[in-house]
C-alpha cells in the first residue's frame, strides 16, 4: 500500500451486494435501450436480467425492468444516473426480498422424450402455471411462470425428462395492492 505505484488510490473495502429490481419508464425511441444498457456497462454496474417492451402505445412509453446487484451506494447511483437520462420519465427500485412486489419470469421448455417422460415433465411443472403450447408424439413445449431461482432449478431437474431447449425472459415486476408507482 505504502509503495503504491499508481496515480490512483487503491480500491476500498468490499461491501455486501444486494439484489435490486430497477424499473424504468422511458420514451420508446431509437437508441433508448442502448442508453440505459450503456450506462450500466460504462459505469461497471451489473445486469442480471433485462425485460423491455412498450406499455403505452399512445404516449410511446416503454417499461424496462432490470435485475441488478450492487452496494447500497451503487444502487443509489444507478437510480440517480438513470434519472439524468433525457428519455427517462421515472425510476422505481425494489429489493428482491420486498414482499409487496411481485416478480415473475417466464420460460419455455421443449421436451423430446417418450410419452411417459413427457407426462412426468408436465406433472413436474404443475406448481408453476404450466401451459402446454405444443404437443406431438415425441415432444412438447411448456410455458411456465416462476421466480428466477425456481426456473434455474427446473431447467436443471427436468433434464431427465428430456428437456432439450430452454428460452426464458428477464424478470418483470409489479407492486401488490391498489397503489401504483408515481
Amino acid at each position: 500500500m505504502a509503495n503504491s505505484k499508481s496515480a490512483y488510490s487503491s480500491a476500498g473495502k468490499k461491501q455486501k451486494l444486494d439484489t435490486h429490481i430497477i424499473v424504468v419508464w422511458v420514451d420508446n425511441e431509437a437508441g433508448v435501450l442502448a442508453r440505459v444498457v450503456g450506462l450500466f456497462s460504462g459505469r461497471g454496474y451489473n445486469i442480471e436480467s433485462l425485460a423491455v417492451a412498450e406499455v403505452d402505445q399512445k404516449k410511446n412509453i416503454s417499461r424496462i425492468t432490470i435485475v441488478t446487484t450492487g452496494t447500497p451506494q451503487v444502487i443509489d447511483q444507478i437510480k440517480l444516473q438513470l434519472k439524468k437520462l433525457v428519455p427517462v420519465h421515472k425510476v422505481a427500485d425494489f429489493k428482491r426480498e420486498d414482499k409487496n412486489v411481485i416478480f415473475k419470469e417466464m420460460a419455455l421448455f421443449k421436451f423430446v422424450a417418450n410419452n411417459g417422460k413427457l407426462n412426468k415433465a408436465i406433472e413436474a411443472c404443475k406448481n408453476f402455471n404450466p401451459v402446454i403450447l405444443d404437443k406431438t408424439n415425441k415432444s412438447n413445449v411448456i410455458q411456465i411462470t416462476a421466480l428466477r431461482r425456481e426456473i434455474d432449478n427446473m431447467s436443471k431437474n427436468l433434464k431427465k425428462f428430456g428437456l432439450v431447449s430452454v428460452s426464458r425472459t428477464g424478470a418483470v415486476a409489479m407492486t401488490r395492492g391498489s397503489e401504483i408507482f408515481k
Binding site: 500500500m1 505504502a2 509503495n3 503504491s4 505505484k5 499508481s6 496515480a7 490512483y8 488510490s9 487503491s10 476500498g12 473495502k13 431509437a30 437508441g31 442502448a34 442508453r35 450503456g38 460504462g42 451506494q73 443509489d76 447511483q77 440517480l80 444516473q81 434519472k83 439524468k84 437520462l85 433525457v86
Partner: protein, 588 residues
C-alpha cells in the same frame, strides 16, 4: 402557405434564435449543404479550425469564458470522431457545447458508406444526450432542445447528427420563443429546512471550511458574488478545486489556495482536520479526496450541487442540498442575515484557534521553491507572468501537466471565467485551441495559454487559425523538454526510469512561430525573462514564447497516491530540513 426552409437553413435559423454569434468548424462532404447556407446568415460567424478537436476545445474556451454554450460544426465520420476528445473533455468538466455533425444520407446509414460512422453510438457515453435527426420536420425542435439540455442543470455537451438528405429537404420553421425552463432533470430540490440546518451547522462549527468548485462558476458571475458575501459574512476559510479558481479572490486572506493532489499544505490539512466542510459545487474528485477512507474523518459534510447523482457518489455527506448554487446561496444569505447579524464578529472567538492553526500550516510556505540565478525556475516564470499581467483583465488557459499545476498554484485569479483548464479528462493540447475560443469571445482582452512543450505540440496546428483571424493569443511554453508530470512520477515512483518521457527532437519554437506567421520569443535566463515577457505583452500579434526552464524541477506539494490529506510531500527545501526517513522514503 408558410415559407419552407431547407434543413440547412433551419440549422442557421435555430442558431440565430439561440443568439449564437460564433461557430467553430471544419467542412466536409456530409455538411456541405450547411456550409453552403453560411453566406446567407451574417449574424453567425464561422471560425475555421485546423482539426475538429481544435473546434471542440475552442468552443469550450468560448463557453467557459462567456458562460454561453459553445457551438461546433463538423462533418461525418472522421470529423465526428476527431471531436470525441473535446466532447468527453466538456462532459467531464461540465461545459455546455452543442456539436452539429453531418451524416451520410439516411438511405446509406448502416451500409458502411464513405465517411460513415455510428456518431450517436460513439458519442452516447460522452454527451448529456444526442440525436440522429431522421425527419426534417423534427430538426428545429431537436436543435432547440439540444441547446436546452446543454445549458440547463449541470451543463454539458450534446450532439445533433444530421444526415445530408435531411439538410436538403424542406420544412416549416416556427419562430422559437426562448423559454427559460429547466429540462425537468435538475430543478432545485431543497427546502428551507435544509437551509436552516446548514446555518445551524455554520453557527456551531469550530473548525469550518468552504470547499468550492467549478459549479460556482457554472452558476454564473452572480453566484461568485454571493459566495464571497457568504464567506466574508462567516469569516470562514475557503479553499477551491482546480476548476473553481477565480470564484473567490486568490489574494484574499481567507483563501487558503487550491486543495488536492498539488494543493497547498494549509488547504489540505484544513480539509483533513475540519469539523464542518461546506462543499459548494465541487464533486469530491479523486484528485481532491486522496484516500477516501481517511478523507476528512472528523467533519460534518455539506454538499451543495445541482446534480443529484453527485451527492454521495464518492463521499457520504451529512447534509445534501440539491440546487443551483446561485439560488441556494441566495436563500442561505437571506436566512443568515436575518438570524445571524454580525456573525463574523460574534463568532470570531469560536474559530480563533482554528485560524491560529491555519496560520501555522501557512507558515510552512508549501509553494516555495529553491530559486536560481542561472536557470529559469518554472514557478518563477509563472510568478513573473502574473506580476506583469495582474493589472490587465487576463484570461489564462493551460495544457495538462506540471505547468498546469504551477499555473494553478502561482497565478492568482480574482474573477470567475478567467481560468480555462482541462481538469476532469486532463487533455493535453487543450490550451491552445481553448485560447483561440477565448480570444474570439473577448477580442480586446489578453489571452495567455500557459503551456508545456509536449502538450502544445498536440494541437499546434491551431496557431494557423489564430493567425488567420488575427487573434493575438500568447502561447507561454514552459519548455523542459520532458513530459514533466510523467517524468516526475517516474522519478518518484518508478525508480527514475524515464521511459519515453523525453522528447529528443523538439522543433525550434521560435522558427515555428515564424513559419506560422506569428511572433517567436525565447527566454533562456531569469535575467532576461521580464523584458521578454514585456516584449510578448506589447505585441499585438499571436506569440509563441519559448521559456527554457529547469528540466528537473518537480511540482510540490504533492499528496502521494492512496494517501490522506495530512500526509503530504513537501518541496525540496522541506525535505532537506526533515531528512527523509525510512518511512518517508517509502512514500515517494
Amino acid at each position: 402557405m408558410p415559407k419552407l426552409y431547407s434543413g440547412a437553413e433551419i440549422v442557421f435559423k435555430c442558431l440565430e434564435d439561440q443568439n449564437v454569434s460564433h461557430i467553430f468548424g471544419y467542412p466536409g462532404g456530409a455538411v456541405l449543404p450547411i456550409y453552403d447556407e453560411l453566406k446567407n446568415f451574417n449574424s453567425v460567424k464561422h471560425i475555421l479550425v485546423r482539426h475538429e478537436q481544435g473546434a471542440g476545445h475552442a468552443a469550450e474556451g468560448y463557453a467557459r469564458s462567456t458562460g454561453k454554450p459553445g457551438v461546433l460544426l463538423v462533418t461525418s465520420g472522421p470529423g465526428a470522431t476527431n471531436a470525441v476528445t473535446a466532447l468527453t473533455d466538456a462532459y467531464m468538466d461540465s461545459v455546455p457545447l452543442v456539436c452539429i455533425t453531418g451524416q451520410v444520407p439516411t438511405h446509406l446509414i448502416g451500409t458502411d458508406a464513405f465517411q460513415e460512422c455510428d456518431t450517436t453510438g460513439i458519442t452516447r457515453p460522452c454527451t448529456k444526450h444526442n440525436w440522429l435527426v431522421k425527419d426534417v420536420n423534427d430538426l428545429a425542435e431537436v436543435i432547440h432542445k439540444a441547446f436546452e439540455v446543454a445549458t440547463t442543470g449541470r451543463p454539458g455537451p450534446v450532439l445533433v447528427d444530421i444526415p445530408k438528405d435531411i439538410q436538403f429537404q424542406k420544412a416549416k420553421y416556427k419562430n422559437f420563443k426562448n423559454k427559460q425552463k429547466l429540462n425537468g432533470k435538475s430543478h432545485n430540490n431543497y427546502s428551507q429546512k435544509n437551509i436552516d440546518e446548514l446555518i445551524n451547522l455554520i453557527s456551531k462549527a469550530k473548525k469550518p471550511i468552504f470547499y468550492t468548485g467549478g459549479g460556482v462558476i457554472n452558476s454564473g458571475t452572480k453566484a461568485s458574488e454571493l459566495l464571497r458575501e457568504l464567506v466574508y459574512a462567516t469569516g470562514f476559510p475557503i479553499t477551491s478545486t482546480l476548476q473553481g479558481l477565480g470564484c473567490f479572490p486568490a489574494d484574499d486572506n481567507q483563501f487558503l489556495g487550491m486543495l488536492g493532489m498539488h494543493g497547498t499544505y494549509e488547504a489540505n490539512n484544513a480539509m483533513y482536520s475540519c469539523d464542518l466542510m461546506i462543499n459548494v459545487g465541487a464533486r469530491f474528485d479523486d484528485r481532491i479526496t486522496g484516500k477516501i477512507d481517511e478523507f476528512s474523518p472528523k467533519s460534518k459534510k455539506v454538499h451543495i450541487d445541482i446534480d443529484p447523482s453527485s451527492i454521495n457518489k464518492n463521499v457520504k455527506v451529512d447534509l445534501a442540498i440539491v440546487g443551483d448554487i446561485k439560488s441556494v446561496l441566495t436563500s442561505t444569505l437571506k436566512t443568515f442575515k436575518k438570524t445571524k447579524k454580525n456573525f463574523s464578529k460574534s463568532n470570531k472567538f469560536q474559530i480563533s484557534n482554528w485560524w491560529e492553526q491555519i496560520q501555522k500550516w501557512r507558515s510552512k510556505k508549501s509553494l516555495e521553491y529553491i530559486g536560481s540565478e542561472q536557470t529559469i525556475k518554472p514557478q518563477y516564470a509563472i510568478e513573473r507572468l502574473y506580476e506583469l499581467t495582474k493589472d490587465k483583465d487576463t484570461y489564462i488557459t493551460t495544457e495538462v501537466g506540471q505547468h498546469q499545476m504551477w499555473a494553478a498554484q502561482h497565478y492568482k485569479f480574482n474573477k470567475p471565467n478567467r481560468w480555462m483548464t482541462s481538469g476532469g479528462l486532463g487533455t493535453m493540447g487543450y490550451g491552445l485551441p481553448a485560447a483561440v475560443g477565448v480570444q474570439i469571445a473577448h477580442p480586446k482582452k489578453l489571452v495567455i495559454d500557459i503551456a508545456g512543450e509536449a502538450s502544445v505540440l498536440m494541437t499546434m496546428q491551431e496557431m494557423s487559425t489564430a493567425v488567420q483571424y488575427n487573434l493575438p493569443i500568447k502561447i507561454f511554453i514552459l519548455n523542459n523538454e520532458y513530459m514533466g508530470m510523467v517524468r516526475q512520477w517516474q522519478e518518484l515512483l518508478h525508480d527514475k526510469n524515464y521511459s519515453e518521457s523525453y522528447t529528443a527532437a523538439l522543433p525550434d519554437f521560435v522558427k515555428m512561430a515564424e513559419a506560422y506567421g506569428c511572433v517567436g520569443i525565447r527566454a533562456k535566463t531569469p535575467e532576461e525573462l521580464d523584458d521578454k515577457i514585456i516584449e510578448m505583452l506589447n505585441s499585438d500579434r499571436p506569440v509563441i514564447f519559448d521559456c527554457l526552464v529547469d528540466k528537473q524541477e518537480n511540482c510540490f506539494p504533492m499528496i502521494p497516491s492512496g494517501k490522506p490529506h495530512n500526509q503530504m510531500l513537501l518541496g525540496p527545501k522541506d525535505q532537506k530540513e526533515k531528512k527523509i526517513t525510512g518511512k518517508g522514503r517509502t512514500l515517494v
